[in-house]
Each structure stands twice: as C-alpha cells, then as structure tokens.
C-alpha cells in the first residue's frame, strides 16, 4: 500500500507504543493511576511531562475513579483528554465511564487487558473489557503493539468525530502485548498531529461567554430520549470508523480495512473468531493447516463495540463451522462474543454451525496446539450450546 509519510521502525513494548501515540497526540490533560499491567504507560507519560517533551497537564490522581472523574471534568471544560487503566482499575473507574459516554465526551483510554479478581491475578484475559461492554464506550481490540499504536491514533479521531463523540477504549492484551518487545513503525510526530487535528469541543465549560450546564438531572420525561440520542452516537460510529481507518491507512501504508480482519477466509470451510493477541497465534496455525490443504481461516475483531453485524454475516456466511473464542466468562450464559456473533445470524437461513470456547483466563497460555485442536473439533461440528474450555484441566 502506498503511504504518504515515512515512518521509523523501532523495537519497543506495547506500553511504549501506546505512550508514544499519546506523546504524539499530546492531549491537554492526562489523568491516570498506575495499575499492572498498565503502569509503564503512566510512567512513560509522566517522564515525557517531566522532561518537557509534552505540554500536557498530568493529573496524578489517587484512584481510577478519580482518574476518570478528572478526565470527565477536563473534557467538559474543553480539553483533549486521555488515560489508561486495567482490570480492577477499570472496575473502579467504570461508574464514571458510563458518565463519560452519557455526556458524550471523547476520552481515549488504553486498556491493558487483565483478569478481574477474585482470585486476584495480574495476567491477561478480557473480563475487564467485558465489564465495560454496555458502558457506551466504543471498544477496539489490538492484535499487536503496532495495532495498539495505530488504533490509539485512530481512536482519537474517531472519538472526536462530531457524529460520534464517545469515549473509546483501545484494548491490548496485558503482558502479552504490553510487556513484550515488538518492532513498531511510528509515524513522524507532525504526521500524527496533523492527522488528529485540533480538538473542537462542543459547549465547553471554559467558554465563559457562552455558559452551559453539564450533568443536569433528567427525569422520566427526558432520560429515555437522552439515552436514545446516545445510541445515535454509537450508530454513527461504524461509518466514522471506516473513514478514519481509511485515512490512517493512506497515511501510514498499513492496510486496515473494515471492522474485522478476515484472514484467509474467502474459500475457508472452518474458521475461528477471536479478539486480541491470540489472533496472531491463530494465524500461524491457519498458515500451517493451509499448507496441508485444509480450508481454514480466521476472523479477528477490531471493532467490538459497536458490533457491526452486516459485515460479519458477509464474511462468515459461507462457512461450514465457526468457533468463537471468548477470553472471559459471562457467568450464566455463553461467552459475550459468541452471543454477538450468533445473534448476527439469527435472521439468516444459511449459517455456519457455531461452537463457543472459553480460553486463556488469568493469563493461561494459548498454544498453537490448542488452536489446532479447535480447528480439528470443527470438522463435523454439530450445533451446540455446550461451553467448551480450551487449555483447562478437566
């Protein structure tokens, strides 16, 4: 793909890649509280502020609840705002994430995915992202440090799109992506600054000549209408996402197309649907099985919320069997991603057989052998509501 700027490649952790995206965007305010495996993002950014590399006001708050509260206040005042958290941090923050979405504040946040307690654990799964599933925040999943960097920049422009104006969470797998070194191609600073442009707040509180009231009470006569209007922001997000993604692809030369990455799916009979770094592991398996003549493919979710059903049906409709891999339990039901995928097909006459696997909880390694087993089990799979557990001692 032709690109319009020349980037530079460096080996760095996912933390550093996210922090570099933040440095280049240079928001007015960052309010952040450190938590494993997100801490280094906060530390890198504090270093940039200390060294005068950025002019951001860094608010070192005393909790994640305060972090998001400070973000909401600053964003309502008219500032461009970013933060980052993980796991219990998001659990504490989530009350205010709902408020950020309800007030239509374009706060961009990196979420270094980590399991929720109890038992306490610091390693990766997606239970934190699932916790915020219905918060009204847009959620994007990155497969690699490169994608985390790229989607932080895309997220900023998407969040601030006037049709959208919602918080965006960029998910990157804790430790697997945050703490490992990968080669990442960064764009030049001025290219990122030019891409995200100036933030234009709507009715900012600091516009004292035009006062406005934020966070007003809404009774049963208006609450419903306001929530419907919020849904319109989500409904506008897919189109805005494609536009921003396309513009970013033209700038960077990296070919991001669509809400999902379809990997060797065109003539596939069996496929896996997955979010995050496990997509990388699964691609290795797909390539290996393809060499043996097996018609297998992969669908990776980039945009999880809003969930775009039409494109999903187009990409998966021709398959015989599909395994949906959820990296979190939705206690008392099938996995949340499984429900998303299968409900997209509820009105389709022709649809694949779907099976649901729970995998990788609390940082349990996901191996190529396990993924191979999934593709093997998809042969002659029958429709079932059985929850299968990948890599669990049974």
């Amino acid at each position: 793909m032709q690109k319009t700027v020349v980037g530079y490649r460096k080996a760095m952790t996912g933390h550093k890649a996210v922090a570099e995206a933040m440095r280049q965007i240079e928001p007015d305010v960052v309010a952040v509280y450190p938590i494993t495996p997100q801490s280094e993002i906060a530390e890198y950014y504090a270093e940039y502020v200390h060294n005068g590399v950025v002019r951001t006001e860094l608010v070192p708050v005393e909790s994640e609840h305060s972090a998001m509260s400070a973000c909401v206040g600053a964003a309502a005042a008219g500032a461009r705002v970013m933060t980052a958290t993980a796991s219990q941090g998001l659990a504490l923050m989530v009350e205010v994430v709902y408020i950020a979405a309800g007030l239509r504040l374009p706060i961009v946040m990196a979420l270094a995915n980590r399991s929720l307690s109890a038992p306490i654990n610091i390693h990766c799964d997606h239970s934190d992202a699932y916790l915020a599933r219905d918060s009204g925040a847009i959620q994007i999943f990155a497969e690699s440090a490169q994608e985390a960097y790229d989607y932080m920049i895309i997220a900023q422009k998407l969040a601030e799109d006037k049709r959208v104006r919602l918080p965006v969470l960029v998910n990157l797998d804790g430790f697997t992506l945050t703490h490992t070194l990968q080669v990442v191609e960064l764009l030049p600073d001025e290219a990122v600054k030019g891409f995200v442009g100036e933030f234009e707040p709507i009715h900012p509180l600091l516009d004292v000549d035009n006062p406005s009231t934020w966070g007003a009470f809404a009774m049963p006569d208006y609450y419903f209408e306001l929530k419907r209007a919020q849904q319109a922001g989500m409904e506008a997000a897919p189109e805005a996402f494609l536009e921003v993604q396309k513009a970013f692809s033209e700038l960077s030369g990296r070919a991001y197309r669509g809400f999902f990455e379809a990997y060797r799916l065109e003539d596939a009979e069996r496929a896996i649907v997955v979010m995050g770094s496990t997509a990388g592991t699964a691609k290795v398996v797909v390539d290996e099985l393809r060499e043996r003549g097996e018609k297998v493919g992969l669908l990776k979710v980039w945009l999880w919320r809003p969930f775009v059903r039409e494109e999903l049906v187009k990409l998966l409709g021709h398959l015989e069997a599909v395994a949906v891999l959820d990296r979190a339990l939705s206690f008392g039901n099938m996995g949340a991603l499984f429900l998303d995928v299968t409900s997209a097909f509820v009105h389709e006459d022709k649809r694949p057989v779907f099976v649901n696997y729970i995998y990788g909880l609390g940082g349990r390694d996901v191996t190529t052998d396990q993924i191979k087993r999934v593709y093997e089990e998809l042969k002659g799979a029958r429709p079932s509501h059985e929850l299968r557990y990948l890599g669990l001692r049974e």
Partner: protein, 96 residues
C-alpha cells in the same frame, strides 16, 4: 400545565444545556405537600430559616425576612424545625 416535550433528535448532545440551566425557569414548588406559613408578628429575624433552607426560598430585605418563594419551596419543613420562636407553621397543601 401543558409542556411541549422534545423528541430525542431535538436534544443537545450529552444532555448539555447551552446557555445554562436556572431554577428561575423551572418551578419546582408543585412537588410540595405541605407549605410553610410565616408569621411576621412572631418572627425575630434571626435568619435561621434563611440559613437552613436548602432551596434558598426566603426573601430578605436589609437582613429581615420578607416572605417565602413558593415557586421553589418543596415543603421540606426544615425552616419550621429550626425556627426558635415557632413563627413558621407547616400547613397541608390543597386543604384550603
């Protein structure tokens, strides 16, 4: 009173109220089930009611109570409770 309610498409983004919201436009006194009745004869103008009223409903002039804003008084009765000379009586609404 008939109020024209807006549809969801007509509302400002995020429920923000451009121009600012003010209780002057929003008469909340209709919530009241009991109204405070102030006795000017008994009142010693200690301003305890003015100080405690959560809705700032006591009119004053030269640091003396002159009346009650019934458009915003919700009838909580705090004023009657703190009055040291029982100059405020809570009377049921709709009784007269």
């Amino acid at each position: 009173m008939a109020v024209e309610l807006k549809t969801w498409k007509e509302l400002p983004i995020g429920g923000v109220i451009p121009g600012g919201a003010t209780p002057e436009l929003n008469k909340t006194g209709s919530w009241r089930s009991k109204r405070p009745v102030w006795d000017a004869e008994k009142c010693i103008h200690c301003l305890m009611c003015w100080l405690h009223c959560p809705d700032n409903c006591f009119y004053t002039e030269n640091q003396k109570i002159t009346g009650i804003d019934y458009d915003h008084c919700k009838g909580c009765g705090v004023c009657a409770g703190v009055c040291p000379v029982n100059a405020i009586e809570m009377v049921p609404e709709g009784g007269e």
